[in-house]
């Protein structure tokens, strides 16, 4: 499938490049490609949580591999986004144990509150609701992932609070 070429400003800061080089050093010299997954995470985190074609080409250049090798990998794994997404992505786990604890109702509630459908960002680009498969927190259901962190034992009140905190810029998405 051909991907739409969305525009993205690329900013490979020194901090980012240092971290990338550190990650590359975790693998043997002739196995740079092995660093691909962790490097993509870092690059994506530093670029509004998504990866444009140009950014993927940049990663290919750094790791000295073919661009297609990066596209193949990015499209395989669900955590890489290939188009702009909402800043605060509420990723609800919707596998069985979470469903037993009412995650579907909570998702409906969140969507209604934000005035969106699952998979569509809000008009201001601030929020997006997504259903994902098992996140490995079945005993703390219902739960969701927000950035690098899990929000567990969710209730409607906690969702309200989270939305307020996001709007007030009180939520940390990545642990750097």
């Amino acid at each position: 499938m051909v991907h739409t070429r969305y525009k993205q400003e690329i900013n490979m800061t020194e901090t980012l490049m240092n971290r990338i080089n550190e990650l590359i050093s975790h693998y043997p010299e002739d196995k740079r490609k092995s660093a691909l997954l962790p490097v993509l995470h870092e690059v994506q985190d530093a670029h509004d949580n998504w990866l444009s074609i140009d950014l993927m080409d940049k990663v290919a250049e750094i790791l000295q591999i073919k661009p297609i090798e990066v596209y193949e990998v990015v499209s395989f794994y669900t955590m890489y986004n290939q188009k702009p997404i909402g800043k605060y992505m509420f990723e609800f786990c919707q596998t069985s144990p979470c469903c037993l604890n009412g995650v579907e109702d909570l998702m409906d509630y969140t969507c209604e509150k934000l005035g969106v459908k699952v998979g569509e960002p809000t008009a201001d680009g601030l929020f997006e609701v997504r259903g994902v498969e098992c996140l490995g927190a079945c005993g703390y259901a219902p739960m969701m992932q927000l950035g690098d962190f899990y929000k567990e034992h969710l209730t409607k009140e906690k969702i309200d609070q989270l939305i307020t905190d996001c709007k007030d810029d009180k939520i940390i998405l990545h642990d750097k």
């Binding site: 499938m1 051909v2 074609i53 073919k66 297609i68 090798e69 193949e72 499209s75 395989f76």
Partner: protein
């Protein structure tokens, strides 16, 4: 090493796979193969068409293998015994894989350029059923243009990945690959870049189905209306040995020379394939031979054709009669004596 397939014994060298051994025996014991290609490293194991039952592991360890094994990637052991066509379990597995390959296939053979030389057609003919149990909507993909020479029909693809291996092993810059995953995995360049290098045309020859076809031959003819001849020319890029497909005096298509397992003998370059369509470009060696039952033989060789009678009138009347029964209409509406018929 000695191995036995469906009761036929053969001596093979160490490192031979079961499929290769079966091909050495030939005939009905040869499992079908949709993804394995002997000339491509790392091919095989994916389509699961060639599953066989290893009833005895080896002389040293005679235990049978519990699961069916993909014969194209399983090595022979001394004293190994294998059931291929003879095993009902294997037959069942082949039927299963055929059904799986067909549920999302568009079944557009009437407009597909591969029809007549398609491995999936052959597989379905051998192991398929005419009825489907799949009532869901079929999966489809957005069309993608991959350049002037090669036509990609993703809906027909069975994801054998041979074309990816061709690009990896024959060229130095692969620009297409497998995108996404699961039943939405697809072959793509991701950025719609023309797949353009001297050997890219071989993707067409290795494709077992109509997913990659020759754009310069598109809708020109059915393959069985062409006469294939072996031909050669001096080429500084490849061996120059090809099969040219002719209609009258016109060369409509050039392909590699394919053996009975539909594998090319040698890969050819795009120059030979796409740019030399004049008879004067080639030294014609003589007619290319195909397996006896190939549809490509239908119009070409000495086989006597039975006259086919299509009893149109009769069949139409029969159809009407059946329709009438379906809507519970009496066969003769004016016959008031026979209301229940």
């Amino acid at each position: 090493m000695k191995v036995t397939i469906d009761g036929q014994e053969i001596e093979v060298e160490a490192g031979t796979t079961i499929l290769q051994a079966a091909r050495m025996i030939g005939g009905e014991v040869v499992p079908p193969a949709m993804c394995y290609y002997s000339k491509l490293k790392g091919s095989g194991g994916k389509c699961r068409c060639c599953l066989v039952d290893v009833t005895k592991g080896s002389d040293a360890d005679p235990r049978p293998m519990p699961k069916l094994m993909a014969s194209c990637v399983t090595g022979c052991q001394d004293g190994m015994e294998i059931a291929s066509k003879a095993s009902p379990r294997v037959q069942e597995a082949r039927k299963s894989v055929t059904e799986f390959l067909l549920i999302n296939h568009p079944l557009d053979c009437p407009v597909c350029d591969q029809a007549g030389e398609c491995d999936l057609q052959n597989l379905s003919f051998e192991h398929g059923k005419s009825a489907t149990r799949f009532i869901e909507e079929k999966r489809t993909f957005e069309p993608e243009d991959i350049g002037p020479n090669i036509q990609l029909h993703m809906n027909r693809c069975i994801l054998c990945q041979r074309c990816v291996q061709v690009a990896d092993q024959l060229t130095d810059n692969r620009v297409h690959g497998v995108m996404d995953r699961g039943d939405h995995a697809n072959i793509s360049t991701c950025i719609s870049k023309a797949i353009d290098n001297e050997f890219s045309g071989n993707m067409i020859d290795v494709c077992p189905v109509g997913a990659l076809t020759d754009k310069t031959f598109r809708f020109k003819s059915r393959v069985w209306f062409n006469k294939p001849y072996n031909a050669h020319r001096d080429c500084d890029k490849c061996c120059g040995k090809t099969t040219v497909w002719m209609f009258g005096n016109e060369i409509q298509r050039v392909t590699g020379r394919k053996d009975e397992y539909h594998e090319v003998e040698e890969f050819i370059c795009n120059g030979c394939r796409f740019d030399h369509k004049e008879v004067s470009d080639w030294v014609i060696e003589g007619p290319r031979k195909f397996e006896k039952d190939s549809v490509i033989n239908q119009n070409n060789y000495t086989q006597k054709l039975e006259k086919v009678e299509i009893a149109t009138e009769k069949n139409i009347l029969l159809g009407r009669d059946q329709d009438r029964k379906k809507i519970s209409m009496v066969s003769n509406p004016l016959d008031t004596n026979n209301k229940n018929s």
